[in-house]
């Protein structure tokens, strides 16, 4: 541990640069994943048949091992000369984030007490008013939980993206293996874990802030 700390002190700039790279990759992937996943999740609640299919597909994608997915994307993306580096990593992370985000959104909106939906309709809300004023606010905590899952997952998988040249903290682990250098591995591992813990905590706070006060009871 001491050695790891020493290593960190000696290579601060490097480690920080890699951390920023990691954050950039995961951050961008998450934002895009939310923009795609949440609307899909909401749409799915209006169509159970499609929901089944989409959730199944997302679950299948989740079972694809990350290194295999990176591997599969290299030949495909090579067609546009982007086989390695940031883009395949980004796409892989977006794909992996879809299941937790879509599923949580779908489940959360689906589980909004049917009476709420009924009340909203009966009161004369249009579909959009209902989604905006009732369904999303009530579903938000669960959607956020999905986002948290996705982010923690992405941070971990992001470490593997180093092998296809996407940079990030995985580089430390990868090189640490090559050099049989425990200190590097520890710095990489701790860095990734800290990143995950911090992201999870921050998102947890955000989740609490976004949760309508009246619903703290089930938070």
């Amino acid at each position: 541990m001491n050695g790891a700390f020493q290593y960190f002190m000696n290579n601060q700039d490097e480690v920080i640069a890699l951390t920023l790279q990691h954050i950039q990759l995961v951050g961008l992937a998450t934002v895009i994943a939310i923009l795609i996943g949440v609307p899909i999740g909401i749409y799915l609640t209006t169509n159970d048949a499609v929901a089944d299919v989409v959730l199944q597909i997302a679950a299948i994608i989740m079972t694809i091992p990350s290194i295999a997915l990176f591997g599969l994307m290299i030949p495909v993306l090579s067609v546009i000369n982007q086989g390695i580096g940031f883009l395949p990593a980004l796409i892989a992370l977006i794909l992996y984030s879809q299941l937790p985000i879509i599923r949580n959104t779908y489940v959360a909106v689906q589980n909004v007490d049917p009476n709420m939906r009924d009340a909203a309709k009966g009161i004369g809300m249009s579909s959009w008013e209902r989604i905006r004023m009732v369904e999303i606010p009530i579903a938000l905590p669960v959607i956020m939980a999905g986002v948290r899952n996705a982010v923690v997952l992405s941070i971990g998988i992001g470490a593997i993206a180093a092998f296809i040249g996407a940079g990030g903290l995985g580089v430390l682990i990868d090189q640490g293996i090559s050099r049989y250098n425990r200190d590097m591995i520890v710095v990489g591992a701790v860095g990734v874990s800290l990143l995950a813990i911090i992201a999870d905590t921050l998102l947890g706070i955000l989740q609490r802030v976004l949760t309508p006060k009246g619903m703290n009871i089930n938070a």
């Binding site: 580096g85 090559s178 050099r179 049989y180």
Partner: protein
Amino acid sequence: GNNEDAGGNGESKGSIEVGGKNFTEQFILAKITSIYLEEQGYDVTENTNMGSEVLRQALENEQVDLYWEYTGTGLVNYLNEDPVASSDEAYDLVKELDEENGIIWLDAAEVNNTYTLMMREENADELGISSLSDLADYVNNNPGELEFASNAEFASRADGLAGVQDTYDFEFGSNQVVRMDSGLTYQALDEEQVDVAMGFATDSRIKGFDLLALEDDEGFFPAYNAAPTVRESILENHPELEDTLQALSEKLDTETMTELNYQVDMEQRSETEVSREWLEENGLID
């Protein structure tokens, strides 16, 4: 890296993407190049930790502008030529052929990072093995006994394990070949997980772990001299790069490289530190 613009006169000379492969020597070469170019006033981004093929594609795809490649690798892997044993011949050939692809090989350094097969010294003594021919005899007499550690690349390259086996006429069974990350083969040997391993001639761990690099008595392994490879278009915009990088090539040789590797791998110093120190010692930066 320290990003201050010491050498430049405030004006940036342009931005350069320096690439590198996924083993220590490449990290050092990339780091030395980056620091040096930065001091010269370029905006440098570093992009290392790639496999050879990936890096080469990145160079062609303009994701990377410049990196250190080995002549042997260029000939065999990218140009599909037969390996050439002589350093100079190999360099001339690869430089000439690769120009058609728009890739320029700048002056090569005296660093010959050729492949080598290694054993633990005392084990080799015991088994009476000192050259690849000895190894071949031993394996042929005791099939299935010796285990061999390789990285993924060597294990599947035509000029790698398959070529050695062809030339010396022996074969490790597929059960005897253990694949692992590039840098780990020395460790695997040291830990007695395997009996024979591939390695790079310049790797310091050969010395560090008391390993014996078996003699390539039939001269199978071609020369693998390191030279900066650049895309033609980059050189057109920055003709001065040729001279600039020559300053580095001149000062680097196999011994120096081994020493630098030793500092990073065995003494576990950071490549940044080691690179900067070397540049300073050689008066390339202040």
